[in-house]
């Protein structure tokens, strides 16, 4: 049995910041990640971030990931376990079950646990939606930006939120032709700065359109053609409005759902909040769930941006350390600063949805 004071599960933006915050207060931290490297999905974010200097604004996501990972690696209070997947939480004794390498398992008992497992890509129902060539937008980003492999030649992007817009831009950057970006909503969901970038490249953004069907190449079985159609103000498709695209790739960028399995296993009280992407845990201002000692941060606590994930991670890390008695006197000040940053990130019309969602989960 491995023992640690604070176990952080997930080495993305939230988990990295949580580890640093807890360790800098004096706690002994073990950071566990299923990948061979830290950074989570920051490793494929080639765009520059917004926010304030606290969230490393105007630095590319990949560079933020590298910087935070190196800070974590340098920190003597943080032990890193890579290629390790937390697959179980036993509520009876609070023990974590971890697969550390192929078919080798260890148990861990932590005084505090911060769950920062992130989110997974959502899917969209339409005829033949399972064809090879229909990929999550994040999957295409991984293939292209992390592994240097192009997804195909011609792409239809489904979803005009930030991920759809950013990935479209990155596809064009890598030399792939994005034929159109469509979204069933009547408005573009992402930031205007991202929308204008793709508009300048000449990519049409078709709002109030959804996918009708996809068709395979009969030889290969993979995607060859996509048909879209317009939806009315009640989201009902309008026959006769079909448009056809000859594409070998369709990217689905219709949002993410929290990867909350461990929270369910732990018996955290969950609530369905569409504004936050699905089932999310109730938590207090310190990011502690209804199971004492289990904290959450990042997309698993409600799907937002990496910037707010970093701030939530910091908050969870500070609070977990404080609850163990670690406080050099700076806790209140640091916590209030993070809360102010979060409030700023979630302010204005862009943050309205998130604010509404959070009002249902903070206890």
């Amino acid at each position: 049995m491995i023992k640690t004071e604070v176990a952080v599960i997930g080495g993305g933006p939230a988990g990295l910041m949580a580890s640093l915050a807890a360790a800098n207060m004096g706690a002994n931290v073990t950071l566990i990640d299923r990948n061979s490297r830290l950074g989570g999905q920051l490793v494929k974010q080639t765009h520059m971030f917004f926010g304030s200097e606290k969230q490393y604004a105007s630095i590319r996501g990949i560079d933020i990931g590298k910087f935070l990972a190196s800070e974590v690696e340098k920190n003597p209070k943080i032990k890193i376990m890579l290629d390790s997947t937390v697959v179980a939480y036993y509520p009876d004794d609070g023990v974590l079950g971890i697969e550390v390498e192929e078919k080798k398992w260890v148990k861990m008992k932590a005084d505090r646990i911060i769950i920062a497992t992130g989110a997974s890509e959502r899917f969209l129902p339409f005829e033949n939606n399972d064809l090879p060539g229909i990929y999550g937008a994040g999957a295409v980003q991984t293939l292209m930006n992390e592994h240097g492999v192009l997804p195909g030649k011609n792409v239809l992007m489904v979803g005009a939120g930030n991920i759809g817009l950013i990935v479209s831009y990155q596809l064009m950057q890598a030399g792939v032709n994005v034929k159109a970006i469509i979204d069933a909503a009547p408005n573009i969901g992402g930031y205007w700065v991202h929308a204008s970038k793709v508009a300048r490249l000449g990519i049409p953004i078709l709002t109030s359109y959804t996918v009708k069907a996809a068709y395979p190449n009969e030889m290969t079985g993979a995607l060859e053609r996509a048909v879209i159609w317009k939806v009315d103000d009640k989201w009902q498709p309008i026959p006769g409005t079909e448009k056809v695209f000859n594409v070998d790739v369709m990217c689905i960028a219709v949002g993410l759902s929290p990867l909350a399995e461990l929270l369910w296993q732990a018996g955290c009280q969950m609530v369905y909040v569409p504004e936050l992407g699905g089932h999310v845990p109730l938590r207090n201002e310190n990011m502690e769930t209804t199971v004492p000692g289990i904290y959450v941060a990042g997309d698993v606590a409600g799907v937002e941006e990496a910037s707010s994930a970093m701030m939530e991670g910091q908050l969870a890390g500070l609070s977990a350390a404080k609850s163990l008695g670690y406080d050099d006197g700076s806790y209140e000040e640091k916590k209030n600063e993070v809360l102010r940053e979060l409030e700023a990130l979630r302010s204005g019309p862009v943050g309205e949805k998130i604010r509404k969602g959070l009002s249902k989960v903070i206890i």
Binding site: R34, N35, S36, Q41, T46, R60, I62, S120, E121, F123, D130, L131, P132, G133, I134, Y135, G136, G138, A139, V140, T142, L143, M144, N145, H147, G148, V149, L150, P151, Q173, A174, G175, P216, T220, G221, A222, L259
Partner: protein, 101 residues
């Protein structure tokens, strides 16, 4: 197809290794995900669905969705989007659920 030149990124690739896909020899880079190596070789159909035998590719590419399960060195249900490529791997399209040996 592989990206050779990119305005922002450079790719650190492992050494070139050989593997087989359904008996056919292919080349990839050691340590990259099997799915990436296959995709670079033009392979998009990775498996067939269990009931209706419909062709399947990967979907999430980060080990969440289980759309990319293949048989690797005789072992079924390997998530090839996260399993790293090694020299001489025998990779096969999986039919059905796979058997325990």
């Amino acid at each position: 197809m592989r990206i050779e030149k990119h305005p922002i990124l450079t790719f650190e690739r492992g050494r070139e290794v050989e593997f087989t896909f359904n008996g056919k020899k292919m080349k990839g880079f050691e340590g990259e995900p099997i799915a990436a190596a296959l995709h670079a070789n033009g392979v998009r159909v990775l498996s067939h669905s269990k009931k209706l035998h419909r062709p399947r590719g990967f979907y999430c590419a980060i080990g969440n969705c289980s759309s990319c399960l293949m048989t690797v060195n005789g072992e079924p249900n390997v998530r090839v989007c996260v399993e790293k490529l090694k020299e001489g791997m025998v990779i096969e399209t999986q039919e059905g659920r796979g058997d325990l040996k």
